[in-house]
């Protein structure tokens, strides 16, 4: 998240979301998802992607998923 949004990693908390991170718009959201898929070797579904709107939600989704 720190790299895609160009922010300090220490500023990211569980509630970090598009409302609290200025740069987090729909295109950056897409980049974030792509980067996460690269990093963790997983693939989110169509329905999941719009729901991943906070650090906590993303963390939960990654933990719940299985690698490709």
């Amino acid at each position: 998240m720190s790299q895609i949004f160009d922010i300090d990693p220490s500023s990211i908390v569980a509630e970090s979301s598009p409302q609290t991170i200025e740069r987090w718009d729909s295109l950056k959201h897409m980049q974030l998802i792509m980067a996460l898929e690269d990093e963790f070797g997983i693939r989110f579904s169509d329905d999941d992607i719009p729901e991943l709107t906070s650090f906590k939600l993303i963390e939960d989704a990654i933990n719940a998923s299985e690698p490709d």
Binding site: Q3, I4, E22, L27, M30, M34, A35, D38, S45, D46
Partner: protein, 590 residues
């Protein structure tokens, strides 16, 4: 350290590492070799290509200045004197087009390409005439949805080929101005699933994945390399074994080799003549030699076979100092950038030194093979100025200056003529059950033309629809290029004898066409009639994305009452609003 080292091949493999590496390379304190300004005119989300493009540009120390135009408003951008395109002219215009957005009938089974062909011809010719940028076009792919479902037809393919053939024709007619990126070829290098991500296509209209974007980025970057290297203005020459064979200080005037017909002197003679032809073209010639000054002037100006004279020189540093310091000193004296200099020396050590200490200078070691020496300054397009090798561009620059002298009114007229030619039909409908889902979706996704950015779920929209004291309108737009569907939402609530506009938004695809005025006007008239209200209230709530509408309510005729916590509050009584928009579109209200 060089920028190239910050961007090894492996960074391309993961998006996060690419974004981070590109960021670091852009901000590191290493001099640039040039700058390249690239503007995308597009009808879909091609922003994801940016990190890949920057990667290739940065590796060559080209400073990237990249921008993206509005969605599907290419013609308007060209005509609007205040657009980013016109206020900050780019070196390269990348026209990124998907056929399904360019001609919305292209997914239909009996589609013919003539509409799209006409539009494309007009668009490209317009760009050629009113800018001096080089234009990069892409070949048309089949519509993405049809590629994903494997629903390709021979008829549509052959129609599409007409467009692609025309694109090739354009590059042949105007090789200096139009370049082609072959998307069909790129697509053929991979499977459809490797090229296209159906999820991001559906969610953000951004279909392409890494492998495809990478190839596209390479095409754009190659064009940039050709254009981005700044023109070289000054040639700095070593003397011994570069301008003549031998060392003047040791061999004396009679011992050096410099002769119009005898070898090896003939090669040096020819080399000097190629230098003179550069001089004639306006390139500055300077010397940087480790010698006693007098020895050099014994040849230049005194030797019978020396074409080069002191008069041809703008500066010289003939001493025993470090050559890099000398060259930098020449740059300062002539007041030119190091990156506009070319240095030629026969000594590998001197070349390595200058290359290391002054990387912006283009250092060329004189070839060991004397026969190759002659062409070294004219090979490649080292000293070509942008206009001398591009007649077309030069003529276009003249045209552009001419066009700029025409008054603003002319440009406005052209815009109106263009907008009329679209044959826009707009339908404004009170939302009930149908269209509810789309309306909710628009409130969630629309960021730019959104006055209050209130996000609503389907259930919440339904509440508005069902309430006797609230109303929801939607706007659908169609034009000669197809049907864009629902692209505007207005929500209003009754408050006594007042109406409050809760939400007013338009999809970015339909901006720049006065549809916002048509929509607000028609909705307000309807509500005034039905609810018999006599005043209006509304707000503008600023966000990072919607600053373009900060004065919309003012322009519509509302009065700004107050500002509190950055929100601007407006009110208006009943009044008649201008309806010039009727000149350029047909409006239906249901």
């Amino acid at each position: 350290m060089r920028r190239l080292e910050l961007l090894p091949d492996v960074t391309l493999e993961s998006l996060a590492s690419l974004v981070a590496a590109v960021d670091a390379a852009e901000n590191v304190d290493i001099p640039w070799h040039g700058q390249i300004r690239i503007h995308f005119l597009r009808n879909f989300a091609i922003e994801p290509v940016e990190p890949y493009l920057k990667y290739y540009l940065l590796r060559k120390d080209l400073e990237p200045n990249i921008s993206f135009g509005g969605y599907d408003s290419m013609e308007q951008e060209i005509l609007d004197p205040d657009s980013l395109l016109n206020s900050n002219p780019p070196d390269i215009i990348v026209l990124s087009l998907l056929i399904e957005c360019f001609d919305r009938n292209s997914t239909v089974s009996d589609w013919t390409a003539d509409r799209a062909l006409a539009r494309l011809n007009s668009l490209v010719n317009n760009l050629i005439a009113s800018t001096s940028s080089v234009i990069l076009l892409n070949t048309m792919l089949p519509p993405v949805d049809l590629m994903l479902t494997g629903n390709l037809s021979a008829h549509r393919s052959s129609e599409r080929e007409k467009i692609n053939d025309r694109l090739v024709g354009l590059t042949k007619e105007k090789p200096a101005r139009v370049v082609l990126s072959d998307w069909n070829h790129h697509l053929s290098m991979m499977s459809t699933v490797e090229a296209i991500d159906s999820r991001f296509w559906k969610l953000s209209q951004a279909p392409f994945k890494r492998d495809f974007l990478n190839l596209y980025a390479q095409d754009i970057a190659e064009l940039a390399y050709e254009m981005g290297t700044p023109t070289k203005k000054c040639l700095i020459l070593d003397c011994d074994n570069t301008l003549w064979g031998g060392v003047i200080g040791e061999d004396g005037r009679d011992g050096i080799h410099l002769h119009p017909t005898e070898l090896p002197g003939k090669y040096f003679h020819l080399f000097q003549q190629s230098i003179l032809s550069l001089h004639e073209r306006g390139i500055m010639i300077a010397l940087c030699s480790k010698n006693n000054e007098q020895d050099v002037w014994d040849v230049i100006g005194s030797h019978p076979n020396c074409p080069l004279k002191k008069d041809h020189l703008v500066a010289w540093r003939i001493n025993w100092e470090n050559k890099a310091t000398n060259i930098a000193s020449i740059a300062e004296e002539l007041n030119i950038g190091l990156d506009s200099m070319v240095f030629v020396d026969d000594s590998p050590q001197e070349c390595a030194l200058v290359q290391e200490l002054l990387p912006e200078v283009m250092t060329i070691q004189r070839p060991a093979n004397l026969a190759k020496m002659v062409g070294v300054l004219t090979a490649g397009r080292l000293f070509d100025s942008p206009t001398s090798s591009n007649e077309d561009r030069f003529r276009t620059q003249m045209y552009q200056q001419e066009a700029q002298r025409k008054d603003e009114r002319n440009k406005f007229d052209n815009l109106t003529v263009y907008l009329k030619s679209l044959s826009t039909e707009t339908t404004i409908v009170r939302v009930r059950d149908e269209g509810l889902v789309r309306v909710a979706q628009l409130t969630q996704k629309t960021n730019q033309f959104n006055l209050t950015t209130r996000r609503y779920s389907e259930a919440e929209i339904r509440k508005f629809v069902d309430s006797p004291d609230a109303t929801v309108f939607s706007m659908s737009v169609a034009d000669r290029y197809g049907d864009m569907g629902v692209t505007g939402v207005m929500i209003a609530r009754r408050k006594g004898s007042s109406a409050v506009i809760d939400t007013f938004l338009l999809s970015c695809r339909v901006l720049g066409r006065q549809l916002e005025f048509a929509f607000i006007d028609q909705c307000m008239r309807q509500i005034e009639n039905e609810w018999r209200i006599d005043s209006w209230e509304t707000e503008y709530i600023p966000t990072r994305k919607n600053s373009q509408v900060s004065d919309f309510w003012d322009r519509v005729g509302f009065e700004r009452k107050k500002v509190k916590s950055e929100t601007q509050y407006y009110s208006a009584g009943k009044f008649s609003r201008p309806d010039e928009y009727l000149n350029i579109m047909n409006v239906h209200v249901e």
